[in-house]
Symmetry: C2
Subunit: 443 residues, 2 copies
């Protein structure tokens, strides 16, 4: 593999590329379109301050104008790149099949020479070797450690988090290391929080392997763990260097997990993208049959929707909260049923139905939207009611510790207006909430 030998020629090729935008800010083009990617020799080697080919240096290093970019894989293919625009913390999401066979993609975002892959007992036999090879291929100076956590939402806690710190500290990782999350949302959230807190912050890459993680949890920088009294109560906002979505990894994902991710995909349609919702209504069978191009399009469109919201409101002052449609009810279901019983997306699906039902009772949306929501979720084999054990009181108690309660007022995301519109508000008739709770609970 041809690697430019001096730092200045690495920079030169970087800077010659910064002039060409290879990652359109919003790539609404066909998911089949190929975007040429850069080879490793195009990557800047100066570390933290430079996070990829499209960033500018605060202090650009002067380079000779004659040093031409060295390209060893001019034909590398990434079908889609979605940019999450967060100023100096911006990062790309690469989406496509076979991306784990493109070591350049990963390696350009690794800082330092040491990597800690955080994964779990289910995923490590499937993908850890492949990821380790991608990280080290053609680059013997990179050393990879891994920590294999137990699998399950019930392990997304402080005790498991400590295992990541233990490993990082025992193997004497320093500040210039990179943490890689290889797994679903549980691994991504824990690894991200560990990366945020280890030595007060180290580099971090996400390789999501569930649809849920691809379309939701790996985008936007929310990381964290659960507390026995509530989900995601302890954490950090922390952005990765990049997210690498290899759609091939979905081939091993259980059906129920796939459906769970689809719930979040449907959410984007409901809250802000009517055209996408309509596309989903037509293409749900293709998604369930794991048609690769349907999956790619759904992931791209979801990431774009989430990235756009997150760019506008990184710290969730208002707009970002709309991504939590169905989540207040959903978290109550997850907590009530016991972590790990209901999948996140399943709980969100039932929660969205409740939010939509309440919106209807308030007269804010047309009955047809409620009907279409039920239909599409049922098509996806998702639950449309909470489990029997959820009583009105259980809902009310859990909702009270929800983060969206500001000064005692419960604010909810509700649909209002034509399909694709929602509000985040505490200004609604409490009777509608009570009616919805009674309608969905046996007691």
């Amino acid at each position: 593999m041809a690697i430019a030998s001096s730092p200045s020629s690495l920079h030169s090729s970087l800077h010659s590329h910064s002039k060409t935008s290879i990652t359109p800010r919003h790539s609404f083009s066909s998911s089949q379109g190929f975007v040429k990617i850069l080879s490793r020799s195009d990557f800047c080697a100066v570390g933290r301050v430079c996070a990829g080919p499209l960033r500018f240096h605060a202090n650009p290093i002067k380079v000779s104008a004659s040093a031409a970019p060295v390209m060893d894989k001019p034909d590398s293919r990434v079908s889609t790149v979605v940019d999450v625009d967060l100023g100096t913390r911006s990062y790309p999401i690469y989406i496509g099949p076979g991306l784990l066979d493109e070591p350049d993609l990963l390696q350009r975002h690794v800082h330092g020479k040491r990597v800690l892959v955080v994964t779990n007992t289910t995923i490590s036999p499937l993908y850890l070797d492949k990821v380790t090879k991608a990280l080290t291929h053609g680059n013997e100076s990179i050393s990879v450690e891994s920590v294999i956590l137990p699998d399950g939402e019930q392990y997304k806690n402080m005790e498991t988090l400590m295992k990541v710190f233990d490993k990082a500290i025992e193997t004497r990782l320093d500040r210039r290391c990179t943490f890689v999350a290889l797994g679903g949302g549980v691994i991504g959230d824990m690894c991200g929080f560990a990366a945020a807190a280890f030595l007060r912050g180290v580099n971090f890459i996400q390789i999501p392997t569930t649809l849920m993680a691809m379309v939701d949890s790996s985008v936007g920088g929310k990381t964290g763990i659960n507390h026995p009294l509530g989900k995601n109560l302890i954490g950090a906002f922390y952005q990765p260097q990049c997210v690498l979505v290899d759609t091939d990894t979905l081939n091993t994902l259980p059906d129920r997990e796939l459906a769970s991710g689809i719930a979040e995909v449907v959410k984007y349609g409901l809250i802000r993208d009517a055209a996408f919702f309509e596309w989903l209504e037509k293409n749900m069978p293709a998604l369930l049959a794991r048609d690769p191009s349907a999956l790619s399009y759904a992931i791209k469109r979801s990431c774009e929707n989430k990235a756009e919201v997150v760019s506008l409101d990184e710290k969730e002052s208002g707009l970002r909260a709309t991504l939590n449609l169905g989540h207040t009810f959903g978290h109550a279901i997850e907590t009530g049923a016991g972590y790990g019983q209901w999948l996140h997306g399943e709980a969100v699906a039932a929660g969205m139905v409740m939010a939509v039902d309440m919106s209807c009772r308030l007269g804010w949306i047309d009955e047809t939207i409620r009907k279409r929501t039920l239909d599409i979720l049922q098509q996806a084999n998702l639950p449309i009611t909470p489990p029997n054990m959820m009583t009105v009181d259980k809902f009310k108690n859990t909702i009270a510790v929800d983060k969206k309660v500001a000064d005692g007022l419960l604010r909810l995301i509700l649909l209002k207006g034509p399909l694709g519109n929602c509000v985040f508000t505490g200004d609604y008739d409490r009777n509608a909430l009570d009616e919805t709770l009674r309608a969905f609970c046996k007691s």
Copy 2:
């Protein structure tokens, strides 16, 4: 107490004040000079986006020009305010006697109606009531919870941190609450990290009660906890809304703790402030006798020095590391001796002597600087050698997990040039390090 009744008049008084700088960016004036402070009615009530009288609103609320500021305590006194300049995360450090008797000062930085005071078993009988009164005086809508942690560096760990989360979650605090750290550096670091991680970040106020916390740990936003294998390995950069230093709280501080803080004060002189070092040489007896004006000046000068460094380099890319003079050796001593055996400042004192010794061996500083360092630390009753149990090997092993080791290269803060100058470098003769270690260790 007169409180402007509508949000718009609160804003109006805020904005009328934004035009007058009441907190000079660098107040090098006499520590006796009074700076008029604002009454509660001058404070902006819109929450997170506005953190005090000197910030500007991103979206200023339009106000009637006739609404005049309502001042109920035009003559409140704060002898010194040091501004830590970090853009949107800037905050003031108020320094002076009797500040806990000025409820306005604290209350203007409380967001939301609920406060969690984090303190320990030693400090709560001394100051918790006073702080609770300051937080609630004239403002019955504020409710104060407290969590009283065990006292000691050995409790600065994940288990104790969880007690803070437990309390916050059990009492159902939401995102608009404020955490208040009441105590020394241990409490400040833990409470700060808890505030950073609880619901991914809530408001935070520091009330340091040790000299160490006043001159060092409360300034600059480093927060965190220890890991069994090393100090401060898990944490966050997180800035408080304000730091309130009531110098009266030092009256109950044990002598040994006072001396520990003095070590950090001496550090500022050594690394960047020769004039301050000379002032300290002359005024050490006054400091040890707890002369209030000497203490106030030393705290102010220390905070200014640290604030300046932190403003220039918040995330410790280089300059900020110089604040760790003596800390690499010091951390090794703290770890080696067992947490809680040596005070942080005591270990730093011995560590600084070692760093200065090494600088001397390298020929980077004059022998007189070494002599003056030994003298001033001895005057302050601080140790100038590590404990007997510290062997060369123990130093080397602990140093290897130190955060300042980038890619295997141990970088150190060493003095170089005239008094008040230092470097942070890995480019030194390793023999000098070995000689220093051998000179200070029995084996």
